[in-house]
Amino acid sequence: GQDAVGSQLKQPLVPAALNLSEYFKQFVFPQDECELHDFRLSFSQLKWDNWIVAPHRYNPRYCKGDCPRAVGHRYGSPVHTVVQNIIYEKLDSSVPRPSCVPARYSPLSVLTIEPGGSIAYKEYEDMIATKCTCR
């Protein structure tokens, strides 16, 4: 391999700044990758606090960000997601990239005052996103 190395060395050195940053770009994780974000709201902001007694604060959270190519192991995505990504990149960009959506939720307990003046404690399923995935 000495001659290969030799020939490499003879190549003109391009300005390091340009190539190195370009070169490393393909490795750095995308900054706005698909992940869970908080959104804390209080029912008084929505003026619903006159009948939603509890909780005072509610954080439904949401998923936002790009789905990188290697979605399999990071997001538990099915192979279909990888295929959709390849179609978007190689064949037809009108096919949308995979979306960043909630994969798992947790319930929420709510205490409300009902129209007739009765009081209800209810537990609702799937009210807070707890995990994101690319689909």
Binding site: N50, L108, S109, L111, I119, Y121, E123
Partner: protein, 293 residues
């Protein structure tokens, strides 16, 4: 490309909801919410805007329900994992009192006779009754903690449509219930499940209860504890509490799923050793899977 159908449905609903006002063509004609149309919470959230201000409930009843909420959920509203009950809905109804209540005779602990009408139309067909209690707000100044034996004789007068044709057939029923008073005990619960079960099952929207309760100190008590009259002051007519299991898809059925919602693998024993500190969780899983079996 078309957004997935589910997303389109939510978008349409949100758009509809923001425009639709009670009384408009899109609003259900009878004004009642059909569970299939809107998830109950969304219905509560949306019909609050256009609706007349709600009746404010009794403050003591609200205080009791806030106490219950703190027992069942965290500050952020997450149901606590240690709850081992089968209900995901608790409804408290304050009565329309049919007649001014005669004051109870406090020196002997006789609670005043009550003639109460409860409107249960908020109970939906998908909510199944687990337990029901009458909640008396008491202020007992019993000097030492003493067990109190209450015997209640309650009569149920059916007021549903079925009894319109024939005079209401009172269904006398004596309930024996025992509860422990401690210092500054605020509430006393009297189990009335046998009375309410048939009515909730047949979706009766009104319940008419009358009768009274007599509370005396338990005979087995230490002689010292039996001195002095039982000084009970009933502060308000009792509320009716229904503990229900909402079987709809939107309701949370925590006891069916493992605490951390993992897909039950075939061989539970093959599961990897629980992470250190997850002992409680693993024990919890053990308990819940035993319960399931």
């Amino acid at each position: 490309s078309q957004p997935p159908r589910a997303e389109a449905w939510v978008a349409t609903n949100a758009a509809l909801e923001s425009e639709v006002e009670p009384g408009s063509s899109l609003w259900p004609a009878d004004g009642r919410d059909r569970p299939g149309l809107l998830p109950p919470l969304f219905k509560v959230l949306s019909d609050g805007r256009g609706e007349a201000p709600r009746l404010q409930p009794d403050s003591r009843a609200l205080q009791y329900m806030k106490k219950l909420y703190k027992a069942y959920a965290t500050k952020e509203g997450i149901p606590k994992a240690n709850r081992n009950h089968l209900y995901n809905t608790v409804r408290l109804f304050t009565p329309w009192v049919q007649q001014k209540q005669a004051p109870g005779r406090q020196e002997t602990g006789v609670l005043p006779p009550a003639d109460l009408l409860f409107n249960l139309d908020r109970v939906t067909a998908v909510e199944h009754l687990i337990k029901s209690v009458l909640l008396y707000t008491l202020d007992s100044s019993v000097s030492v903690s003493s067990a109190v034996q209450c015997v209640c004789s309650l009569v149920m007068k059916e007021t549903g449509t079925s009894s319109q044709t024939q005079p209401s057939t009172p269904r006398p029923l004596t309930l024996q219930s025992r509860f422990e008073f401690r210092k500054k005990h605020k509430w006393a619960e009297i189990d009335v499940t046998p009375l309410l079960e048939p009515l909730v099952a047949s979706s009766e929207s009104h319940v008419h209860l009358s009768g009274n309760c007599t509370c005396v100190k338990d005979q087995q008590q230490r002689p010292a504890a039996q001195e002095g009259p039982l000084n009970l002051t009933v502060l308000a007519s009792p509320s009716l509490i229904l503990y229900l299991n909402d079987t709809s898809a939107q309701a949370y059925h925590g006891w069916y799923s493992l605490p951390y919602r993992r897909r039950p693998s075939r061989g539970l024993r093959q599961q990897s050793r629980p992470a250190p500190g997850a002992g409680e969780e693993a024990a919890q899983v053990g308990r819940s899977s035993r319960r399931q079996r």
